[in-house]
């Protein structure tokens, strides 16, 4: 499915909440949407476009904002579709995709603990890989493993 076809079919459903459809990394395309339209977009993508299989949900910390992306697969199109939304870092939350794709459950739990994005109306938003009381969000850019400059000096002096 080409990006302009996607725009034609999703445009009437989402209206101004559909921000852009662009070609993306060898997939059918990337749909950028405003978070208010999340559930309607998920339903449209699954039922109208036929992307029934949710492959993954992930989040990226861009320091000034956070991006949540969804990757869905369609058996008819034999291709992946990226959905992506930008959230302000101070108030990062988006509607959970679990009512539409049950597969989103664990992926959203992981994004929640790693990148500190909250998923509204998630049935069971607990930590998945880290302990429950773990107070850090390791995949935020502010979480440093080490000071790279120090390490570089050490390795070059050896």
């Amino acid at each position: 499915m080409q990006p302009d076809v996607l725009r034609e079919r999703l445009g009437p459903i989402l209206g101004p909440r559909l921000l852009a459809v662009e070609p993306f990394a060898g997939t059918a395309g990337r749909v950028r949407f405003a978070r208010e339209g999340a559930l309607e977009l998920f339903r449209a993508v699954r039922d109208t476009l036929g992307y029934r299989h949710l492959a993954m949900v992930g989040a990226i910390d861009w320091v000034d904002h956070r991006e949540v992306f969804y990757v869905a697969w369609s058996d008819e199109e034999r291709d992946y579709l990226f959905l992506s939304t930008d959230l302000p870092a101070s108030d990062a939350h988006v509607e959970s995709a679990t009512p539409v794709w049950p597969a989103a459950n664990w992926h959203e739990r992981e994004a929640f603990e790693m990148v500190d994005v909250r998923f509204d109306h998630h049935p069971d938003l607990r930590h998945l890989l880290t302990p429950d009381e773990y107070a850090f969000h390791p995949l935020l850019r502010s979480f440093k493993l080490h000071e790279p400059e120090e390490l570089e000096v050490k390795t070059r002096n050896v």
Partner: protein
Amino acid sequence: MWINMGPQHPMTHGLWNLRVRIEGEIIEEVDPEMGYLHRGIEKISEDRHYNEVITLMDRTCYVAGLAWEHLYIIAAEQALHLEPPERAQYIRTLSDELQRIASHLMWYAAFVQDIGLMTPFLYAMRDRDLVLDLFQSYTGARMTYEYNRVGGVRNDLPTGFTDRTRKVMDWIYARFVDYDHLCLDSDIFHRRCDGIGVLSARDCVDWGVTGPMLRSAGVRRDLRKDRPYAAYDRVEFDVAVADGADVTARYLVRMEEMRQAVRIVRQTLDWLDKNPGPVLADRLPRWLGAPYAPVGREGYLLKRNFPTGRGFSSVEEPHGEAQAYVVNTGGEHPYRVKFRSPVFANIAAAQKYLPGYRVADIPPIMGSVDICVGEVDR
């Protein structure tokens, strides 16, 4: 009553905890607890060069290292706008399929032990060693290979490799008959495996279940056919499918996949015999081979001039469909690397396929999922 199966339990095949709520012998609810093996591979990748991440990929799934290297390397090459030579594509296809055989044999060995058959375990482990010997002869390692490079593979195949591999393939192909006899003719096998752990095709798709579990529900989906990568569009093979969606069906799918893997290996060997050539792209940026991150003027130029990009890859690894997403914002490290493990989704669906069966059914059912905790926790 809640009981804990794990983190140390013969059923787990790794380090995780299956919490089960039971009513008598019947499973009412399950809650898998993961994270015992979490090493933060996605985080560590943010501080490493593109080639250094390959080391982590071997440790992501330690029984299917080459398949995971392949997954990452496709996404990384796409993000860095590099193209590997055709011979490297064939070597990767060959590695993937040898890895599929090794991984499925490991699964077979662990699975038959779960249901109380000891002899097939020894058979499978012995034959898996023959495949590991092949890996050792061209990658230098039996488990953590670090063989793929951004832009190709590290070295070409050694002299006599193709003949040796053909002999091993002939031997293993003949042994598959024995494997089937040991399991399918065994009364214990059928009593413990038939009709349990059923997950319908619809539930599989809803819960993101892929790989042999999905194909055992009769769905003909295989990324090697549907979205070919490497040299898979140039080799002939059939997609293994079974009906029943139970533990026996998953067994049948994996056995057929191994036969098809032998078929693919033979075709790639024929091609590799006839087509010598380079295995690594010759126009690689210098820093890709550097032992440390370029600093000073070189690093500055790199940061200024290197193109940015995003890479997305999807690979049919032995456990199912794995995805990688690499974000390159310029510079020597990836900005973000995200992996999707098929076993992650397959275990998440346990709350669909476990309830209703008995506690004694858990080892065969979870055994048939083919769990690799390394790639779930990453």
